[in-house]
């Protein structure tokens, strides 16, 4: 899916838990997420901290979108 959307020429960042899958399906900008049932949260944290964590991941993703890449890149 990532690939088909990127084919339109829009930059796409893939936020996912299993980065090897993302590499397999051909995403070019990849940001690792937290864990499977809750990629951008962590139920062991309180709501405020969860939000901060999420915002951090989203900021990382936005940063990836503004970064030129020539090959598949994982933004750790």
């Amino acid at each position: 899916m990532v690939k088909e959307i990127e084919r339109t020429g829009l930059p796409v960042v893939h936020i996912c838990t299993v980065t090897p899958i993302s590499l397999t399906v051909g995403a070019n900008r990849i940001v690792p997420a937290v864990a499977i049932p809750y990629p951008m949260g962590n139920p062991s944290l309180d709501a405020g901290k969860q939000f901060a964590l999420r915002e951090q991941i989203v900021r990382k993703a936005l940063n990836a979108l503004t970064t030129e890449v020539t090959e598949q890149t994982v933004f750790d």
């Binding site: 838990t17 899958i21 397999t24 499977i36």
Partner: protein
């Protein structure tokens, strides 16, 4: 390491119940694979290949897979293998004939035997640890 069999094969249930936990799926082989995929996401890893046997996925109605619980997160190799197996099974399409009881029994037997070899290896591995 805890091991687990996912299967829709009644013979597996009869053979292994009480020895290795069996999660019995009352459904098709693709449904077994989906259950396997989900468990892999929840921290299990494959011990056997999800495309066991050379009987084609649009022939045999049975599927049994041996899994182990992992201690450390998800095993991406297992997820990829299972996803790929689901893809292959979808490509072959559904079973297009009505098997008779005797043939179903034979399919059960072959499926169970494919798993048995692996289960013995897994139990041996467990003992050595």
């Amino acid at each position: 390491m805890k091991i687990l069999i996912i299967s829709n094969n009644p013979l597996i249930l009869r053979t292994w119940d009480g020895k290795i936990p069996v999660r019995y799926i009352d459904g098709s082989a693709p449904e077994v694979l989906l259950a396997v995929r989900d468990l892999c996401h929840l921290g299990y890893r494959l011990l056997t290949h999800p495309l066991s046997g050379s009987i084609k996925p649009n022939e045999t109605p049975y599927k049994s897979v041996l899994l182990a619980g992992t201690c450390c997160g998800t095993d991406t190799e297992s997820i990829l293998l299972t996803e790929n197996a689901i893809d292959v099974v979808q490509r072959f399409g559904p079973i297009r004939r009505n098997w008779q009881e005797r043939e179903l029994k034979d399919f059960q037997l072959v499926d169970a035997s494919l798993l048995a070899g692996a289960a013995e290896s897994a139990i041996a591995d467990l003992k050595e640890i």
